[in-house]
């Protein structure tokens, strides 16, 4: 593959006069997990929202070599970019299976949704058990699985995950991140944003550290995990619990 699958080049996002993200560049290859770690308020969620088109940004965002800056959220989804938002943004009153079917909204109408649905159920058997249940009545972990499953229904080439471990019990976090790690095999490029740096660096191939809106460190995940600065700020006993 020539060139990266998804690339942010000097992307900045401002809320009024405050620059929440400054000149951030990163790139993702197919089948690669790239993580952005950093403390709460470092601008990680803002960066993902800009990449998805929820927030306006400056700089360039390229997908498969094509600039997508001017595309709306809907057009980016159709192109093959998906975001699992921090708040999941499920259709709470609707059944699990309806949530999933709507995930395939941008797929060509003739295509069989049933096959995609089976694939998602294979990945997340728990969702199949609960397919008639309203999404809002499920546990936090199940809702995260549903949000991921719904995003996968669109068959994205790039999947962005915003804090998938947020608010979940450690056992569930482990389960979810293993699933993310498995997704790599499908060739999808994953951009994983996490406060839980230890867990994220364990499954990622490459990582970026964000502090107050800028990238301060980057490198292969194993190198970052061994970097004294990262250990002290994010992996040590004083940092985030793993």
């Amino acid at each position: 593959m020539s060139g990266p699958l998804f690339e942010l080049d000097r992307v900045s996002v401002s809320y009024g006069r405050i620059e929440a993200v400054r000149q951030v560049s990163l790139s993702i290859q197919p089948g690669q997990i790239v993580t952005v770690v950093g403390a709460n308020g470092a601008g990680k969620t803002t960066l993902l929202n800009a990449a998805m088109g929820i927030l306006p940004s400056t700089g360039s965002i390229r997908f498969q070599g094509r600039a997508v800056n001017s595309l709306s959220i809907e057009e980016r989804v159709t192109a093959g970019i998906a975001l699992v938002a921090e708040k999941r943004e499920l259709f709470a009153t609707m059944a699990v299976e309806d949530n999933l079917r709507l995930g395939a909204y941008t797929r060509p109408r003739g295509e069989r949704t049933a096959d995609a649905l089976e694939e998602v159920y294979t990945l997340f058997p728990r969702l199949k058990e609960r397919r008639k249940q309203a999404a809002g009545t499920m546990s936090g972990g199940e809702r995260q699985m549903l949000a991921m499953g719904r995003a996968l229904m669109a068959k994205p080439r790039v999947l962005m995950l915003d804090e998938p471990s947020l608010g979940l019990a450690p056992r569930i976090v482990k389960e979810i991140l293993e699933l993310v790690s498995d997704l790599r095999r499908t060739g999808v490029g994953i951009l994983l944003v996490e406060q839980n740096a230890r867990a994220a660096l364990r499954i990622a191939d490459y990582g970026y550290v964000m502090e107050t809106g800028t990238v301060t460190l980057e490198g292969p995940a194993t190198t970052l995990a061994a970097d004294p600065r990262v250990i002290e700020s994010y992996l040590g006993l004083s940092g985030q619990a793993a």
Partner: protein
């Protein structure tokens, strides 16, 4: 003097109530539909009813209905608004498609109306043209008024609705004059069912309402587009993240509301004299029913509408000068009851 209620009168009032209730049900359904998808409390829904009735009346008099002209005018304005706001709408392909939808469709209806109006082809031609002319007002109004306010609060949207209502009533006076109209009944037949005499017109109203409720139920429950609209109502950002174009969801909702409004107008026009400002009171009765359904429940809203119709019918028998007061008083205990036992539902996290 006491009015005496015998079984014939009870049956007559019940029929009257249920028939009117069916029309209120249609209005309540449109209000719930528009509110759940766009959060707009759509006060002008009643104007669509009046426009529907008066447009059909214009056809019967052999006049080209001004509604069709208004649809063209609003379409032009909506397209210009698009071009000013959105550079992407200026791309040639989008421009052609936009012009076809915004101007082409209402122009086609106008042309058909101009051909049909003097020829008196009857309801089979005039009713569909009426419905088309009024339905086309819906999406243009949404694009001109509500889309720029999509992120605004429910209160701001409500105030915008009051503005649209006043504008449409004013235009109604300009278009149709202060005179009221009644159209020819769709059916003059009467049927004796047991002790009751049922009119063909009532059966039309009930049949159309029932068919529309079933169609809406099938659309929202069993089609991807219907579910996408529902999803937009439940979680707007979530809907955008799966690629549902939420702006067109609003347009679809308003088109459906305008269509259902016009259909209600066509149904009541033979039984009530409709004036340019009749829509408001009719719409408010639908609103009472929608409120009883909490503005979110289709079945509750529809059932409440039948209740409103019955209360109105019996109130007009016992205390006709107070019938509106009695109907609107129903809303007070409902609001009290709702405010006492409202459970705050947390939808996410």
């Amino acid at each position: 003097m006491e009015a005496v209620l015998d079984s014939t009168i009870v049956l007559f009032l019940a029929q009257d109530g249920v028939t009117n209730g069916a029309v209120y049900a249609l209005l309540a359904l449109s209000l719930v539909l528009v509110f759940t998808i766009t959060r707009v409390i759509f006060i002008p829904q009643g104007e669509f009813v009046a426009y529907g009735a008066l447009t059909l009346a214009a056809f019967e008099r052999g006049v080209i209905p001004p509604t069709a002209l208004l649809a063209v005018g609003l379409g032009v304005a909506a397209l210009l608004d698009d071009l000013i706001r959105d550079p992407a709408a200026r791309r040639p392909a989008r421009l052609v498609r936009g012009a076809a939808v915004s101007i082409g469709a209402p122009l086609a209806v106008l042309a058909a109306a101009a051909v049909a109006a003097p020829r008196h082809w009857g309801p089979a031609v005039e009713v569909p043209l009426t419905l088309a002319a009024v339905a086309l007002l819906g999406p243009s109004l949404y694009r001109l008024v509500y889309r720029p306010l999509a992120e605004a609060s429910v209160l701001v949207l409500l105030i915008a609705s009051v503005g649209v209502h006043l504008a449409l009533v004013g235009l109604g006076l300009l278009f149709f004059g202060a005179e009221g109209f009644r159209t020819a009944p769709l059916s003059t037949a009467t049927y004796d069912i047991g002790p009751a005499m049922v009119t063909g017109q009532s059966l039309w109203v009930l049949g159309v309402t029932a068919a529309l409720i079933v169609a809406l139920w099938a659309f929202f429950g069993h089609t991807l587009t219907g579910k996408a609209l529902q999803a937009t109502a439940v979680n707007r950002l979530g809907a955008r993240l799966v690629g549902i174009p939420t702006a067109s969801a609003g347009q679809i909702a308003f088109t459906m509301a305008a269509f259902i409004g016009a259909l209600s107008g066509v149904l009541i026009a033979p039984v009530t004299t409709v004036f340019y400002d009749t829509g408001f009171l009719t719409g408010l009765k639908g609103f009472v029913a929608a409120i009883i359904g909490g503005l979110v429940s289709f079945p509750l809203g529809a059932a409440a509408a039948v209740l409103v119709g019955l209360v109105e019918a019996f109130a007009s028998f016992w205390a006709s000068s107070f019938k509106e007061v009695i109907v609107f008083t129903i809303i007070i205990p409902v609001l009290l009851w709702r405010s006492i036992r409202t459970v705050h539902v947390e939808d996410e996290e």
